[in-house]
Structures are given as structure tokens and as C-alpha cells.
Symmetry: C2
Subunit: 504 residues, 2 copies
């Protein structure tokens, strides 16, 4: 219980016991993460039935230990207790998690879990058949169950807000929606301008084959350069890249496309950013909120910082292109400018979120958030979703899906919940804001050009990682950057970069 | 709850609930196994502190769920209930596990666990310094705690017997000690005769270097040949080879010595044998004793069957030597007879158990069992252990360790418990007995020569694996081989093989 620099008062017993419970909850969650990593990276396929049962046992035991009446009693006892700021933060976060779980009846959780896995199945069939009508009834039932869950958590709050807050704690919905509106208003014309400009950026890596083994070596070389600590991490492959772990062991994965080495490289750097967050959390706070990441939005700010502001910079390509050429001699004639362009190409005619570029990506996100909100609030009927989806794609990106499989059925996201997408765009916006704040202290371009990444990692650790959940999200953003979340830096960054790239 | 071919009566609720609990216990145990596999095979070293905490939480939660008063109440309710044979077996096994845990006070478990990990530390230092006196006090305290634990489990039973039964359920100590005595009386003169004969078997693989990558490919080729199901398994490397998993996912590991390809190959085949046992358990019984392996001794019979009776046979080398030569062209002049001899060499001057050959190995085991028994029963003082150890090595194998590091301090085994070694020798004895029974039904030599391993796997699955814990160990041995455990077949097998090899 060494909560940093604040002097500890006499710690109430209830606080001590609560911390012990918190560590148990963390251990169960981390055990599930290891099982999940293993399932996606190492497990032979035939292991699935037993693995599903193991994960279900871990998750239900964790739930029981969380919503235990004793936890409620300890929290009550600590209400108004004389605690340091750090201790109060621990209690605040555990109370939040307790309340958001304990208020939901177990049978509702069971119905929801069952229906989510059925919906997942129906979605697969509907997408394969390009048949939204087959999916609609499952989706309608899902939204009812999710509304019921939101109402159980807080009957006085709008369900959509409750759903949003599940994923983005302590970051007002108003703030995020204002930022999203600014983005939409700015990016839609910018993308249209790029599209009309008709300038083709260089695609110097096309037309060759890049074997997976050498791509892996190239990704490892990038990680060596960026300073990934192999005492506490490893790189593997998985169909969908992800990061998994904690401050002692934060592993990443990537995937390979034999026709395009940038896909694996960008994904590797992105996941490396996530890993830096975990590895920057304080080891002595493992098991409690002070040693846990703040939110999905803040997590994404770390991955996007390394992806957008490092990997996609001209300086990075000045530094790294020789290494690419060493690994793949077929690229020896590629220039820094060409490589830089390849890493930053915008292609508005793309319909699929997970394949979108840095700029159009956010309109895929904003579209989803808008549709989810209208749907949850009953302003949009389930049958209208495909039409509204396609209209918005047309309005924002100038393309219209010809099938629902390439439209509103493309993602599995609804099975997991509604209002789940904000973190991705919050992450990019915050990454730009952190980048700007970092530039007040450091010569970021110079560091990248020289391959000196330790100062960048240390700045993020100092300003973001080491705080864990010490501050509510809004406050953390102010502590780290000196101001509230704002679209300003992200828009300045894209304006400058793309005006230059596309000669606007 | 499909317990095979027996017709189910109306199942009492308590039975149903007990099965659910059993599945939870299995899931927690399997989650721990995944975390353990990961730690030994994949985890970056820096992950250790958090992993230790995760494993400790899983193990204490499992203990709580096992010794739960409710479990006792369900078991009481099922006492004398109208159950099928399979159901009664489930209850018998869960009752056994419950009683062996519930009777031990939690604080004793804690003291023991703490002292075990301290002992492990002291042992490392004592071995490095070749200083048994440094280790003796920890060992004395350990034996007291283990005696206390045994007395808590059954105050009316001798502590040594209780300790033995922890590892070898339902196989009378008398039976095993009689078998061990026969082995000792037979093997000591046989080994002396081999030693005196002075015949040097061929060592055709010496003097070359065998790179790890090709050794791995060779091990994979052997597994392909033997029929390892990759839908439910995988091969990796670890410092100490082991098998981990269940009927859905049974993974193995091996290790490499660049000067000797047989080390990795033999270890791979051994662990493959363990995996066949897991994979032969009935999938629909996952989570209860009918879908769990019988005992360490029976498990070892499976690994030893494949290692001794397949891999170490002339027929296997007739079949497999061309594959070795393909992988390592430097071995192209090796003959089948030479390879067969290399896989079967006896070297009585070896002092170290884990490096021992097929024959001397059992005297290392018997020595440990004898010393443990005398020590637990107070007939041997801790200070006398080194001398007695060395005397026995001299008597059984004709060699005397010059240091305790190469003598009684060589293994970490006492930290884990006493009376833990019987399974290894029981395994080899039972493997020979199963091999003899199999030969009544199958042309084993012909199968091996033709690379037809499915009949061998299926015979073991049918006679051993599919029963899980349906029968007590003694009964399982009779069901599978038609007679009780006997040294006869093992002694016949070694007599014939080594008389031929050493021209005795």
C-alpha cells in the first residue's frame, strides 16, 4: 500500500480489506487475460470448449467477489473516512465498479450474456447472407436488454449516457460530443477536398511480395528501436492485433499481409503504444486502481501517439527506411518521401472501418456513435438503420455501400454493447493534444530523427501512465496537457499534414 | 452428465450440484495449468511477480470452493444414495479430495506453503555451497509440518502412508513396496553384471553438432508419425520437459542438447505418451473425476510405454532412422543397430537421477523412497541423510557421490513433499505390464515397424484412458491387464533386452 508521495494516515481496516479484494479481482481478470491471449495466439483450435468453460468460471467468480455484500459494507464504512487523495481515488474507483455491477440482477446478466452470444451467431449468418432483416429481431431484443441493464445501474439517468459512461468514465458525454461535432464539421470538407484534388500519393511498396518471417524480423527491429522492454513483453501474431497484460507483462501481437509490409509495421507500433501504457503503470500498485489504466480513450491515446505522431512522421521514415531496405532489398529504391506518403495515404472510397485511413476512420466512428444514440433513445427504428447508415456514409465520405454486409452489418460491435466506439476517436484527439504538450518540453522531431525514444516514453510515463486511475479522466487530461480535451490540436495536425501531402 | 453406458437412475439434486462444483474446481485448476504452462514456455521473465499472485489467487479460491461446508453437506446427502457405478465413482473421488483438504487447518496450509517456498530458497543456496548442514534445519521443520498435515488428514494412520496415498491413491503401499523390493533385488545384480561385462554400446551420434531448429523439426516428424493430434496439442520448448492440459488441449514441451539429438527425441516421445492419456479421456466427462487421469503412476505408465516400449525398440529405429538421417545428413552412416544401442545405453557411474538411464533410474527412485520412509518414521535423523544416501548409492549402483550437491542435495524434491517418487517406477513397471497385455491383442512389433501407431493408441485409450477415475487404481490395473500390479513383466523385459544388448 505505498501510494506514492502522499503521506498515509492511519489506514482503516476496511481500506486494507478492500485493497486485498481489489488484488484478487485483478488477479482473476489478469488470469482471464492470459487465457484469452493464449486462446488467440497459442491454443490449438480443439481447446475451445474447455477454454470457454474456464473463462466463464473465472468471470463468474470475479463477479461474485465484486458484488459481495461485504464489499458494499467496506465501501460504506469508508464513506467520509479520513483518506489521502490516493486512497480516496482507490475507493472512488472500486465504488464505481461495485455499483455498476451490484445493481444489475444476476438473471439479467445471464439473459444478456446468452442473448449476446446468440446475436453474435445471427450476425454472422445475416452478414454472410447480406440480410439485415434476419438480424433486426435479435438487435431489437438486444437493445431492450441493454436499456434494462442501464436502467438498473441508474434509473435516474438516460440509458445512453449510462452506456457511454461504462466505457468512458469521468469524461462528460457533452465534451466528447462537442469534440466529435467539430471533427465532423472539419473533416467532412477536408476529405472532400482531398478527394476532389485527385492527387495520387506514392505507393512504393506495391507490386512486391514480403515474406512473413522477414516482416516479423522487421517488426522486431522497429520494437528494438522504439525501446520495447522484452523483459516485460513479447511480439506474436494473431488475426486481429491486440495488446494484453499488465505492468509486469504487456504482450503485443501483429498480423501480416504479404503484399504490404506497412500493415504489420503500423499495427505493431500501435500495439507497442498500448504496451507502453501498461508498462508505465506503477508496479507497486499492481492490483488496485492506481496501478490500472484510466480508460479505453486514454489507452488509445497512447497507441495513436506512437502510430500517428511517431510512425507516420517524416522523421521516422528518415530513420527507419534503411532498416526496411535492409530487410527487403526489393525496396532499395524507395525514397523517404515515398515511404512517408505510403504511410499517410487517404482513400475515402473505402467502406470498411477496420481498413480505414487515419482521417476517414473518425467519420466511421462518429457515424456509429450517432446511430447508436438515436437507436438507444428510440428516435431510430431498427428497420431504418441500413438506410440511415448508407445516407451518413454518403454524406460524410461521399460513398454509399451497395450491400448491408459492407454497410451496417460489417462489424460485430452491437453484440458487445452500444456506445462503445468513442474511445477510438477520443484516443486520436488526445494523442494530438499530448503530442502538442510534449513538444513544449521536448524536441520530438529531433528525438525521432535520432532514434532517441526514451524521452518520449518517459514523458508519457510521467504525465499519463504513472497516475493510473489517480485522477478522473477529465482531470488527468488537464494534469497531463494543461487543458481540457479539445479537438484543436488534432485538427491543426491533420490540416497541416494533409495540406502538405495533398498540396491543398 | 452422460456417464457412459450405465443407465442413470433419478439423479439426486445434491449429485447435480456436486458435479457443477467439480467443474468449477476443474476450471480453476486448468486455468492454473494454462498460467503455469505460459510461465514456463512463453512468459517474459519480468512477469513473475504478478504471475505468482495470480496463481496464488486461483489456488486459494479453488481451495475455498473445495472445502466449502456445502460440499460436505452434499457428500453427506449422497452417502448411501441410489447411484450408478459411475456416479458412485464420482462421489468417491470428490469425497476423497474433499476429506484430504477439509481436514487440514487453513493456517497449517499457509505455514506449510510459506515454509516450502523458503526451503526451496535455502536448498538452492545449500546446493550451490555443497553444504547440507545449511539445509538440515529447514528440512527438519518441513518434515514436522508435513507430519502435522498427515496427522490432520488421518490421525489413525501412519504419516508416511498418508503422504504416500496423497500421490498414489488406491494402490496399496504394501504392493508397491513389494514390487520395489523385487526390482532392487533383481536390478542391483543385473546392473553390476552389465558394469563388469565392460561391453561398450555404440555411441554413433557423438561428435557432431545438431542445431536446435532441425532437432525441433525432427521431433515434430516423430510426433506426426506417432499420431499426435495438433487440433488438440502443440510442441514447444522448456528447460524441463512437461505435459500440460486436458482432453481438449494437451500440450507438450521438450529441450535440446546440441551434442545429442536423442535427448530431445526421447523427451518428446515421453511427453507425447502423457498427452495421449489426457487426449484419451472422455470429452463429455471434462470437469469431473470420470474425465480425469487416475494417478501419477498410471500417467507415467503411458509416457513410459511410448518411451521404453516404442521409442527404445529396434523396430522403431528401423522405421525412424531414415527420418533422422534426412534431417541430419551427418548421421547417414549410422546403422539401425547402432541407433538402437545408443537409445538403450546403461551408465551406472551416473550420480544424477534426471540424467539416469532406463535401468539405473529405478534405483535412484527406490533409494529416495527408502530414505523418505525412514526419515518420516523417525528412524533416520536428518544429519544422517547424506551418509545413508551415499552408502545406498554405493550399494545399489557401485558409485559414491563425492559431494552432497551430487548426492542428497541434487533434487529440489523435498520442498514439494515426501513419498512423492513412487509414481515414476510404478509407471515403468505398469508400462511393461500393459505392453505385455497389449501383445495378447496386437502385433506390437509389427505395428511399430510399419509405423501403424493408431492401434497402440486405441488400445491404451480403450483399456486405460477412457476409464478416467471410474475404478480405483488397483482395479483399473486389473481391468486393463487382467492381473494386479506385478514386477514380472518389467523384469522379463529388461532381462531380455539387456542380456541381448550386453551379451550377458
Amino acid at each position: 500500500m505505498s501510494h506514492g508521495d502522499e503521506s498515509a494516515t492511519d489506514v482503516p481496516d476496511a481500506y486494507r480489506t478492500l485493497l486485498e479484494r481489489s488484488e484478487k479481482l485483478t488477479n482473476l481478470q489478469m488470469a482471464s487475460m492470459v487465457l484469452g491471449w493464449d486462446q488467440r495466439v497459442m491454443m490449438p483450435e480443439g481447446g475451445t470448449p474447455a477454454r470457454a468453460k474456464q473463462l466463464s468460471t473465472l468471470s463468474s467468480l470475479r463477479h461474485e467477489l465484486l458484488v459481495d455484500e461485504e464489499v458494499g459494507a467496506w465501501l460504506d464504512e469508508l464513506d467520509g473516512a479520513d483518506l489521502t487523495g490516493a486512497q480516496a481515488a482507490v475507493v472512488r474507483e472500486l465504488r464505481r465498479e461495485y455499483e455498476r455491477s451490484a445493481e444489475v440482477p444476476a438473471e439479467l446478466i445471464e439473459r444478456l450474456t446468452r442473448h449476446q452470444s446468440e446475436t453474435q451467431q445471427v450476425w454472422q449468418e445475416a452478414k454472410a447472407a447480406d440480410d439485415f432483416e434476419r438480424f433486426a429481431p435479435a438487435l431489437s431484443e438486444l437493445i431492450d436488454l441493454q436499456r434494462e441493464r442501464a436502467a438498473a445501474i441508474d434509473p435516474t439517468e438516460s440509458p445512453y449516457r449510462t452506456m457511454y459512461e461504462n466505457g468512458q468514465p469521468y469524461l462528460p458525454l457533452e465534451t466528447v460530443e462537442r469534440v466529435f461535432e467539430e471533427l465532423r464539421e472539419h473533416l467532412v470538407p477536408l476529405i472532400a477536398e482531398i478527394d476532389e484534388r485527385g492527387r495520387e500519393l506514392a505507393r512504393p511498396f506495391e507490386g512486391h511480395t514480403y515474406d512473413e518471417e522477414t516482416q516479423m524480423a522487421l517488426c522486431e527491429a522497429a520494437l528494438d528501436l522504439l525501446g520495447y522492454d522484452r523483459e516485460h513483453g513479447r511480439l506474436d501474431t494473431a488475426p486481429h492485433p491486440f495488446m494484453s497484460g499488465n505492468q509486469f507483462d504487456a504482450r503485443i501481437t501483429t498480423r501480416f499481409d504479404e503484399s504490404d509490409p506497412l500493415g504489420a509495421l503500423g499495427a505493431t507500433v500501435h500495439e507497442f503504444g498500448h504496451a507502453t501504457y501498461q508498462l508505465g503503470l506503477r508496479k507497486e500498485e499492481y492490483g488496485n486502481p492506481l496501478g490500472s489504466p484510466r480508460s479505453s480513450g486514454v489507452h488509445e491515446s497512447q497507441s495513436r501517439f506512437w502510430e500517428n505522431h511517431v510512425y507516420r512522421s517524416r522523421e521516422f521514415w528518415e530513420l527507419f527506411l534503411p532498416t526496411v531496405e535492409e530487410h527487403f532489398p526489393q525496396t532499395e529504391d524507395v525514397t523517404v518521401e515515398e515511404a512517408y506518403q505510403a504511410a499517410n495515404r487517404v482513400y475515402p472510397d473505402n467502406l470498411i472501418r477496420v481498413e480505414a485511413d487515419e482521417l476517414t476512420y473518425h467519420l466511421h466512428i462518429i457515424l456509429r456513435c450517432e446511430i447508436d444514440r438515436a437507436f438507444v433513445e428510440g428516435e431510430l427504428d431498427v428497420a431504418e438503420i441500413p438506410e440511415v447508415w448508407n445516407d451518413k456514409m454518403d454524406e460524410y465520405l461521399g460513398v454509399r455501400p451497395e450491400t448491408d454486409a459492407a454497410g451496417c452489418l460489417q462489424d460485430t460491435h452491437w453484440s458487445a454493447g452500444f456506445a462503445n466506439f468513442h474511445g477510438y476517436t477520443v484516443g486520436s484527439v488526445l494523442a494530438a493534444q499530448l503530442d502538442a504538450a510534449m513538444r513544449e518540453d521536448l524536441d520530438v522531431d529531433g528525438c525521432i530523427r535520432d532514434g532517441e525514444f526514451a524521452p518520449l516514453r518517459e514523458w508519457q510515463a510521467e504525465h499519463v501512465h504513472r497516475h493510473g486511475q489517480r485522477y478522473p479522466t477529465e482531470e488527468l487530461i488537464e494534469v497531463a496537457t494543461g487543458e481540457p480535451l479539445t479537438a484543436e490540436y488534432f485538427l491543426d495536425y491533420v490540416d497541416e499534414k494533409f495540406a502538405d501531402l495533398y498540396e491543398l
